[in-house]
């Protein structure tokens, strides 16, 4: 089927197929396969073919007419030849002529190329003129008429083509008596119009002058060159006479024209006559005489043609004619036999020209809609009545008309659609009625007009009609609850309009004044909620009456509440609270504070529905806590923009914000102007984290403590680690162990201690707090978000942008447990250039500054390791936008994990230092890999879990002077210091006075063997340790080995790492360097400790 058709000529079947493809209304794809063919040529050359069925030929011509025009100029000679060689009596000849002339007229435009296009054009015009030039030849009158029409079409496409032949055309038109005369007259008119347009009248040569016979025809010179500007010179006398002659012929008997032709003729006449009116003013009167009778015609075309003349020649038609015309139009709309559009048009024409303005009121009785008028016509007639009403109202203001007449007119008009009062609100009658009311408004106060008399706001406000419409609306609202949504929509339409906003507001005030007192609380009141909401939204309407009514309503709802009305109570209660919420948003809280809070309190106290009470509570809190203006912005979230068509029953319901919440463009760089920063900077500037995929408490419950495994059921078996676990803890049955006294003591210390460590797997673990500050920069924020922030008034703070309900959420890939999000209810942007430094903020005291909120990130680490916390923020801006995105992550260092070990509650205060020292020693020993405590498990506090210690050791040589070291320790590790030994060290530290409440050991002797002394009961291992240490020193920093005199003393540092680990430092301070012996029961932390210690002293 899609086979490409042959190029030479198409068979009848192919033509059928082609026609079908072109007729299909599917997209053009089916046509494409034919388009490579010279279809026009093929179609035209197929016409004389005898093998083509005759029914196809007209279709081919129609194909050309509809789809192949305009043709390329190359095809024109072929078209012309086909036409000229076509038998004159062929039934298709007329159609072919039409097609060929259409092709010429659509393809050619001035200037015509002299060599290619002019000859065929001249030949065509010649043939047509020959056909036309046989006046009163009876049998071929139709063909002659068609030739005239064809010439007219060519003349219209190539203006002035026949300007030189005007004389001939005049003679032909004057002579013709057959019905074809109409075509001759129109041709003459068209040619004369172009002669006028070309400025021929100014010439002294007569336009009607003829040089010879009309044929042979040649294309006039002005069409062969670029078009010139027509001269505007006044017409010469001879041509003035001639054009009047032409006009006289054209206007001789317009009755002989068909209405369609008359329409064409009047438009041409109007143009020619107005061109020469200045020099021949009598023409206008002539026009009136000849065409005035059309006013009584049934034909709308004639009526409209006359109107064209009427508008064009205002001087010709006097006041009497104006009255006649106006009443004819008003009456035309009453004629039942006319099609509805024509009746509507007649009224439009009446209103369309200013000439009838003063006459329209007098026609009022004709605008009364009759009962069987279609609603469209009733609507249009009501427009006219509204127009009259508005006109009279203005007049009355000027002095003296009966206002009853005025309001009566509107009431009478509306009565034809009075059914709108009892029909459903969606009925067409309702639409028509409210449209009419609106027309009264815009008629009295139009949007823009030259006429300064009307259009003022005050005019309408004081007008009788406005008062009357308000009364109507109040009455309607009070009697017909179903109409309330329509009324609310009506006010909305006014409110949305810049010019009529005040009318809408006034309407709301009137409703507030007159409707509200009439309403009784009860379930029926719900019908009025849409209106209440409109009132609540409007700042210009006092709210007290509404609040009072709503309070009554709440009381009534509470009273009527019963088992059957639960849903009703909820629904109505929520809506009332919804209205309160709207009120909160739109009004200064001070104005409505008392009554509204009364209403809310009442609701909170007594309303039966929990959710409603809840909402009321929220509203009340907002009312009392947030300052008005900010509150309104805040509550704008989810509201529709105050557009023209908030068609929904309103924002009683939360409608998801239409604004896209994520404006990706502005979200991406949130981090650049919103800051969440640590108050205490990390010692280690660059952080890295050791990631051990399987090293996680959660993921390996079984490898740990039996009891834990039993309890934690969530992790699946697959997650069990297959790799080596570092901490191998014997959780199997205790074997008998030999334990000496010291060991027993150590165990006891540890048992006592671990009982204080919370069982983090079964209850909440210890929490790490990272204080941060939250702030944002005003300037960049405004730049991104603030373009539509309202410029606010008085106080300076208002000029700063603000964020509301900021929720900062955290997440981390590190084992920090669930990190609760932080909330900042309200924060102002940081003023530019304020140079705010980071203020150290105490956790308890959050009200440091309104520019800067303190935020504490609480971690509950499952494992002490540094990590990054991803921060995402969500907040509302003042202008109801929801801002969300991520900020720069917060770095958590190992030092954040440092905590003091817990102290059993029964420890006396003065015994704490001692306790720490004992604990240090016990842990130190337990962390010795060779320690036999390693197999012991310790029950954790308040839980079933227990811990075992699997220690690791390490050393670190720090090449620093004692001064630096002491400074660092005092600064960063003071609270973890357990004991200091060695005279010089003690002296220095004591003098500094930073370190307090620790054990001071004066003995220097111990210092040299400090580490060893801790473990006197395992000398071998101690020795071994030392050897290793020495090796390290030798290997790592040989040159210090000899002079390494750790003679100043020793500091012992004990750090608890949540959830249950420890880090122990024994720092042997020397003059040139310090050796730090490290023990821990959590070996991965060693990875960070090294770096930390480096950072301490750098």
């Amino acid at each position: 089927m899609d086979r490409p058709p042959p190029a030479a000529s198409l068979s009848p079947q192919e033509w059928e197929q082609l026609l079908d493809d072109f007729a299909s209304s599917s997209p053009t794809s089916r046509r494409y396969r034919w388009l490579h063919l010279p279809l026009l040529d093929l179609a035209v050359s197929s016409l004389p073919r005898r093998d083509l069925p005759s029914h196809l030929k007209p279709l081919l011509l129609s194909l050309v007419d509809d789809h192949l025009l305009p043709p390329s100029p190359r095809s024109l000679p072929l078209l012309l030849n086909t036409l000229l060689s076509f038998p004159a009596d062929h039934p298709l000849r007329d159609h072919l002529l039409t097609t060929v002339v259409s092709a010429f007229a659509s393809a050619l435009a001035a200037p015509v190329s002299r060599d290619h296009d002019a000859p065929p054009l001249a030949a065509l015009a010649d043939a047509l003129l020959v056909a036309a030039n046989r006046p009163n030849h009876a049998p071929d009158r139709a063909a002659r008429a068609l030739a005239c029409d064809a010439l007219r079409a060519l003349d219209a496409a190539l203006p002035g083509l026949l300007a030189d032949a005007l004389g001939h055309l005049y003679a032909l038109a004057a002579a013709e008596r057959s019905p074809a005369a109409q075509s001759y007259l129109l041709l003459l008119a068209s040619a004369a119009r172009h002669a006028v347009r070309l400025g021929r009248l100014a010439s002294t040569a007569s336009i009607l002058a003829v040089a010879g016979p009309p044929t042979p025809f040649s294309v006039p010179a002005h069409l062969l060159s670029a078009p010139q500007h027509a001269s505007a010179a006044p017409p010469s006398e001879v041509n003035l006479r001639d054009i009047r002659k032409v006009l006289a012929l054209l206007m001789d008997r317009p009755q002989v024209l068909t209405p369609a032709a008359a329409m064409e003729m009047t438009s041409i006449l109007a143009e020619i006559a107005s061109a020469v009116l200045e020099w021949a003013p009598a023409i206008a009167a002539h026009i009136k005489v000849q065409f005035g009778g059309m006013a009584y015609s049934s034909s709308p075309m004639l009526l409209h043609s006359l109107l064209v003349l009427f508008v064009q020649f205002p001087d010709a038609f006097g006041a009497q004619d104006e009255r006649t015309m106006a009443s004819r139009l008003a009456l035309a709309a009453r004629e039942a036999h006319r099609p509805l559009p024509v009746r509507l048009l007649a009224l439009h024409w009446l209103l369309g020209t200013g000439r009838f303005t003063n006459l329209v009121p007098g026609l009022a009785r004709w605008f009364y809609p009759s009962i069987f008028d279609p609603l469209a016509l009733k609507a249009k007639k009501l427009d006219c009545l509204a127009y009259v009403t508005a006109g009279i109202d203005g007049e009355k203001a000027a002095g003296g008309r009966d206002s009853e007449q005025l309001t009566g007119l509107l009431d009478d008009g509306l009565s034809c659609v009075s059914a709108f009062r009892w029909l459903p609100a969606r009925s067409t009658e309702t639409g028509v009625a409210f449209r009419a009311l609106h027309k009264v408004f815009v008629g009295t106060a139009p949007h823009s007009t030259d006429d300064t008399r009307c259009g003022g706001a005050g005019e309408l406000l004081n007008s009788t009609i406005f008062l009357h419409v308000q009364a109507i609306l109040v009455e309607m609202a009070s009697d017909h609850r179903g109409l309330v949504p329509v009324i609310s929509e009506f006010t909305n339409r006014l409110l949305a309009c810049n010019l009529h906003q005040w009318a809408g507001e006034q309407l709301l005030r009137t409703l507030d004044e007159r409707l509200l007192p009439r309403l009784e609380p009860g379930y029926q009141l719900a019908s009025y909620y849409p209106l209440f909401e409109k009132i609540a939204q409007n700042e210009t309407v006092p709210q007290l009456r509404l609040i009072e009514l709503l309070t009554k309503q709440m009381v009534s709802l509470t009273k009527d509440h019963g088992p059957d009305t639960e849903l009703k109570s909820w629904s109505q209660g929520s809506k009332v609270v919804g209205i309160c919420r709207v009120m909160l948003k739109h009004h200064h809280s001070s104005h409505i504070f008392l009554p509204l809070s009364h209403l809310l309190v009442l609701t909170i106290e007594s309303f039966p529905d929990l959710e409603v009470r809840d909402h009321a509570r929220i509203c009340l809190r907002m009312l009392s806590c947030v300052p008005g203006k900010k509150l309104r912005h805040l509550m704008g979230v989810g509201d529709q923009p105050s557009g023209v068509s908030p068609s929904l029953p309103g924002s009683l319901f939360d409608i998801p914000s239409q604004r896209p919440a994520q404006d990706s463009k502005s979200m991406t760089d949130l981090a650049s102007y919103i800051h969440l920063e640590r108050i205490v900077p990390l010692v280690v500037k660059q952080s890295w984290a050791l990631t051990l995929p399987n090293f996680s408490v959660q993921s390996r419950p079984s490898g740990y403590i039996l009891s834990i495994q039993e309890v934690s059921s969530t992790p699946s078996e697959q997650e069990k680690p297959t790799g080596p676990t570092i901490e191998r803890i014997g959780y199997t049955q205790e074997t008998l162990r030999v334990m000496d006294a010291k060991g027993a003591e150590t165990l006891q210390i540890l048992r006592r201690y671990f009982a204080c460590v919370p069982d983090y797997l079964h209850s909440s673990g210890l929490k790490i707090r990272i204080p941060c500050t939250f702030r944002f920069d005003s300037e960049p924020f405004k730049h991104v978000w603030g373009s539509d922030l309202p410029v606010s008034g008085s106080d300076g703070a208002d000029e700063l942008p603000a964020l509301y309900a900021v929720v900062i959420a955290f997440s981390s890939s590190a084992q920090f447990g669930k990190i609760p999000s932080c909330h900042v209810p309200f924060i102002l942007g940081e003023p530019p250039g304020s140079g705010m430094d980071i203020i150290p903020v105490d956790n308890q005291n959050r009200e440091e500054s309104s520019y800067c909120a303190s935020v504490v990130i609480e971690l509950e680490p499952r494992e002490p390791s540094p990590g990054l916390i991803d921060v995402s923020v969500a907040a509302n801006t003042e202008n109801c936008q929801v801002l969300s995105g991520s900020l720069k992550p917060i770095t958590v260092g190992i030092e954040d994990m440092f905590m003091k070990a817990s102290v059993p509650p029964d420890t006396p205060k003065e015994g704490v230092a001692m306790y720490y020292q004992d604990l240090f020693h016990a842990l130190w020993e337990a962390c010795d890999s060779s320690s036999n405590i390693g197999r012991e498990t310790f029950l954790l506090g308040r839980g079933k879990g227990s811990a075992a210690i699997n220690g690791t050791r390490s050393v670190k040589l720090m090449e620093v002077t004692p001064k630096v070291l002491i400074g660092a320790v005092e600064r960063y590790l003071a609270s973890f210091l357990v004991s200091v030994a060695g005279d010089s060290l003690v002296t220095i530290l004591r003098r500094n006075g930073v370190i307090k409440n620790i054990v001071w050991e004066a003995s220097v002797s111990d210092a040299s063997v400090g580490a060893d002394a801790l473990v006197p009961y395992s000398p071998d291992s101690n020795l071994q340790l030392q050897l290793i240490d020495d090796d390290d020193i030798r290997v790592g920093s040989g040159r210090y080995g000899s002079e390494n005199k750790r003679d100043m003393g020793c500091m012992q540092v004990m750090i608890f790492l949540p959830p249950r680990y420890h880090l122990l430092f024994s720092m042997e301070v020397g003059c040139a360097s310090t050796l730090v012996r490290i023990r821990t029961d959590h070996w991965p932390c060693l990875a960070y400790v090294d770096e930390y210690l480096e950072a301490l002293i750098s």
Binding site: A103, L345, L375, S418, I655
Partner: protein, 660 residues
Amino acid sequence: MSGGGCSVRAIWILTPHDTVAFSRRFAVVEKRWRASWEAEGVGGGEGDRLGAAAATPPQLPADYEVAAAFAERRKRFAAMPLVLQSAYSVADACRPVTIFFIAFQEGTARGSGIRTSLSSVGSDSWVDDPITRHVISLHIDKEESDGFMIWPVVLQKRGGYYVLVLPMVDPVSFRAYENLLERPDCGSSAKENGNLSSILLNLPCITGAFMVAHVIGDIITGDTAEPEVIVNSGPSVGGLLDSLTGSIGISARSKPIAAPVAAPTASVSSPVGAAQSESLKGGLRPFDKELLRNFIIGAMPFGTPQDLNYTNVTSIKTTGFSGDPLPTDQKQPAWKPYLYKGRQRILFSSLETINAALYDRDDVPDFLSVSGQVTCRAELEGLPDVSLPLTGLETAHVEVSSFHHCVQASEPTDNKQTLVFQPPLGNFVLMHYQAPCNIAPPVKGFYQLSMVSENEGAFLFKLTLMEGYKSPFTMEFCMITMPFSRRRVASYEGNPSIGTVSMTEHSIEWRIVSSGRGLSGRSIEATFPGTVKFLPRTTQRTNSSFRSVSSITYAEDSDSEQDNVKNGASLDDYIMENINKDLQAVDLEDPLSWQAYNYAKVSFKITGGTLSGLTLDPKSINIYPTVKAPAEHSMQASSGDYILWNTLGKCPTAALPREL
């Protein structure tokens, strides 16, 4: 000014299935249109929809694009999810969360023509004028480039087809309308500059396009018969073709189908509802495209209408002018292509249609109005002038009259007006007029229907027919229909004092006077007490959301439903109110929501006189040059919307004019 006149760029005929059944483009007009737009330099203006195609105005859209645009317009949905939920919580599992979709169809519902809250800027209904249901804009979407708008598309719905005619307008008017479509304020008034009325006044082409669309509609519905002229003695006479064939000597064909003006079902607007009567006509009848094409070639060969008279255009095409002589001294009118030859006579018929709203209430006056026409058939040789004096205009209170374009009417003075005309060949409507009913209404009385229960009603008719009508007034038939379009009639009981009663699914019909036994020279009284039982109502809320505008938007809050019986309203009102809850909004073409009321419709035909009292005197007719031609005048009146409103129920009214 657009240069006046009317030139048509394109014609489309679309089916209800949004396919193009017929299209015709006029390349000559299109070229002129492009030239005028290019000359005006369209595209430089701000906010121009033509967008990138600044210098070159958009191409005439292809058929499928028009079909798509029209389909889009007809089905323009403003669907809007409405989530009803409690005031704050986003989703509350305990509470019902209801989602409604509002459907809104601009093309068919009342939406178009009146701005509603759902109208959007740029749609025709934004302009808020009923004429925009007939002069529409189409938004053409282009795949490869920006879309554009075509306006004014004159729309006529005929026989299930949509006839679209696009006349050529000047860019100034186009832009003026575009402004109206996009102005952000609450709606325009006729007092502002650039209002729709002044645009329409400046565009005769729209009026012309209407007439083109109208005649095309006639052709596709086959409604091309000439107006009826009744002859007192003998059958109706044929039209132009009969005159032609008679004069040329071809054997007479069968009589043309005269429009059954007085048939009971035919009326100006059927109370049963236009939509239903449309569907009663059955499916889409294919039309003769060849015929239409030939008509267009004859009537508007180059897009500018010359003659929109179907009979003339087709007879010129088919018959030619082989033997027709020409008048010797004067121009033969274009609307009279042939001259009559044969026995001379002149016939007039006065055909009147009476519309009535009878209330039988003290507070509401009855409404009676007669619209009439005088049809004429002048079988006169040559081009004679006929002068016809109309008398009794004031006595008949003729409100308005308009005349055939061949008529030159004098100013009506002193109860008298003279019409001078050169009659065309065949039947034509000489004049139309509106008048009150100047004698007593032919059927008067009352109809009462009272609902005894929700499914049963008692009714009573008490009527007087032809009171005060003397011979030769004859009532040929009279029938009363009680339509219950939204109830199904189960049964009825009761016997009328005269006539027969029958029942259909949705109505009860009472034939008081049957055709063939005309009522003449006397009046009769007819009573009919009875009861009617209905099948129980089934809720028919289906698809109402599509037809009616946003039923949800206006939906009554379920909380506020209230038992109105308590408020003392009658049972009738209560039942009606319940029924009316799911009443569909009617089209703007309907005069009122028929279905909201109970009424009885009277159909009748009366011959032998006119109800307005306006008559012609055949003897006073003057023909110049004088010929001896007998003149006849026949008269007939029939009912249009002749409604007896239920005296016990609600009824629609309209105020009668008062003088200012």
